[in-house]
């Protein structure tokens, strides 16, 4: 029996807490609460992975895409409530973008998992390379954001 089976009530509680958080965020109109709910779900998933110590979970990309949709739909409902009137074309455009990016992210995640499952001996150099890649990805996003916002 996996250790996580004994902790099932905890995972269910964390999931329920996330749903409650997002519901309260939508009710009171707080986007920050919606973000916290996503963080909580991701933390629960990560904790379950670590406690289990099971081999690779193939459902992780789907969970990631679901998490993005969860967050986007929560924020969208808040924006819809604030906006006085909105053109239908905007709804279609946004839905298309969100779905396309969720699928693209899922594919990217699956690619990352496939790469991770390759039988490569672990080493300090490889870990350092992974760290550098992660830092590079974050730096790239930050640089892009800084450049785009400074152009106005």
């Amino acid at each position: 029996v996996l250790a996580s089976e004994n902790l099932r009530p905890l995972w269910i509680s964390l999931g329920a807490a996330a749903v409650l958080l997002v519901a309260s965020g939508v009710t009171v109109g707080s986007p920050r609460t919606v973000h916290w709910a996503s963080f909580l779900l991701a933390a629960a998933y990560a904790a379950r992975l670590v406690v289990d110590g099971a081999p690779l979970d193939p459902g992780a990309p789907v969970f990631g895409a679901g998490l993005l949709l969860f967050s986007e739909l929560g924020l969208w409902s808040l924006e819809l409530r604030r906006a006085g009137s909105q053109e239908p074309a905007l709804l279609v455009e946004r839905a298309s973008w969100t779905l396309a990016l969720a699928f693209a992210g899922m594919a990217l995640g699956a690619l990352a998992l496939t790469g991770a499952s390759a039988n490569v001996a672990s080493s300090v150099a490889l870990t350092a390379a992974g760290g550098a890649a992660a830092t590079g990805a974050i730096w790239l996003i930050a640089a892009l954001a800084r450049e785009r916002s400074g152009r106005g």
Partner: protein
């Protein structure tokens, strides 16, 4: 103008950084997989993001309106080279509300598109309003970066109090020399028959009353009342008011003044305005449509200015109060300075009538028996004050917003029929 990162950008970037570092720390590649959609969202969103070239212009076509009339607000947005998603939010000043409750709209503009739409608003209260402030926020396609453009006031809108059509007006005791619509007490050339008298040299033949002449055997002529105008001064008490739920006695005072000015000016009377309060303002008596606009503009400036200064009627320039004018005091009768000024005017022999704009509807109901008793005593004091005015020959009409001003005016007119005649000024 600077583009700012949205909270979503910050939250997603933080999330991606945390899960990537957690993946490294725990050695679980699944965490990279759950962060991947967020990284894809941010990367694509920032790559496709362009600085929107958007301009906004707000126009208010009608700048002079009456209370309750819709204020059309035209918003024109022009998009330059790139398409943009824009949120337009307008903030109306206090006293102006958006029609339908919607003050914001979200649009998708194509490159080179220019779109004009109308947002309705209405003013609940008379006044001068700077319309309209707002903000235009242009988003990139994924809503990660936003460009804020502030919308400055498009102009000043003057909302005039809506005058009530009056069925009767308080008639002045004396008329002036200009031709008007009022039958003068004196005799002269006019339409209204006054009396007959024996013919004297110089009388015109057309004035001979042939029937009376035949009956009496000597020439008799008709005498008539000429039509003259009157001078009316609207004395606005702006020392103090009672307000509740966005309405107050000053609103009643101004609305009554607008209705009375409209009524008297349509009878070709000269109308002047004296705002007697913390700040004294006035408008000399004049007639015609120009005076109507001047009075309407002067009424918009009426406001309560708190002051400890003890003012009497001596601060009012004498040319504002012509001899024989009718002074109509519009007051909630709350401040002893304005009450004293009205009594002083009467003591100086002016023909005075008071329209009391009652503060009662704006008071909270008494919460305890003690407050109930205090309210009764206060009502008695006010009744005594009204009685004092009436003893001095000043008619007092009580006006609440629930009933038309005509009812209060009728009360004044009836009271003046039986009141003591004022000493000639």
């Amino acid at each position: 103008m600077r583009r700012a990162a949205s909270p979503r950008l910050r939250a997603y970037a933080t999330f991606a950084a945390v899960v990537l570092l957690a993946a490294l720390a725990t050695g679980r590649p699944e965490l990279v997989a759950i962060g991947a959609p967020f990284i894809a969202f941010l990367t694509v969103g920032l790559v496709v993001s362009r600085t929107p070239d958007v301009a906004v212009h707000v126009n208010v076509p009608r700048t002079r309106l009456l209370e309750g009339e819709p204020i059309p607000v035209e918003v024109t947005i022009a998009c330059g080279s790139d398409a943009a998603r824009v949120d337009v939010e307008l903030w109306f000043p206090a006293g102006v509300s958006a029609s339908g409750g919607s003050r914001s709209t979200r649009l998708r503009l194509r490159a080179g598109e220019r779109r004009t739409f109308e947002l309705g608003a209405s003013a609940d209260r008379w006044g001068t309003y700077a319309l309209v402030r707002g903000r235009l926020r242009a988003w990139d396609p994924l809503g990660l970066l936003a460009l804020d453009i502030s919308i400055e006031p498009a102009g000043v809108v003057r909302v005039y109090p809506r005058p009530e059509r009056l069925r009767a007006l308080v008639g002045p005791r004396r008329t002036q020399t200009l031709i008007g619509s009022r039958v003068a007490r004196v005799r002269g050339d006019g339409v209204e028959f006054a009396d007959i008298r024996p013919f004297v040299a110089g009388d015109r033949v057309r004035r001979v009353n042939w029937r009376a002449t035949a009956r009496r055997g000597s020439l008799f002529v008709n005498e008539r009342h000429p039509e003259r105008n009157a001078d009316v001064i609207l004395f606005l008490d702006t020392f103090e008011e009672v307000r509740a739920a966005g309405a107050g006695t000053l609103d009643l005072v101004v609305r009554a003044a607008a209705s009375l000015a409209d009524g008297y000016l349509s009878c070709r009377d000269r109308v002047g305005v004296v705002g007697f309060g913390g700040v004294l303002h006035w408008l000399e008596p004049s007639l015609g449509s120009r005076a109507q606009y001047q009075i309407a503009d002067a009424l918009l400036q009426s406001e309560i200015v708190f002051s400890y200064v003890w003012k009497t009627v001596s601060v009012i320039p004498t040319r504002l109060l012509p001899a024989g004018c009718l002074i109509i005091g519009l007051s909630p009768l709350l401040d002893p300075r304005s009450v004293g000024a009205l009594l002083d005017l009467r003591a100086r022999g002016y023909d005075l009538a008071v329209l009391e704009c009652s503060p009662e509807p704006f008071l909270a109901p008494p919460a305890s028996p003690t407050e109930e008793l205090a309210r009764r005593l206060w009502r008695l004091e006010r009744a005594a004050l009204r009685s004092r005015f009436q003893q001095l020959g000043v008619a007092v009409g009580q006006w609440t917003d629930d009933e038309g001003i005509t009812t209060a005016l009728t009360e004044v007119i009836e009271s003046r029929r039986h009141s003591r005649q004022p000493a000639p000024a």
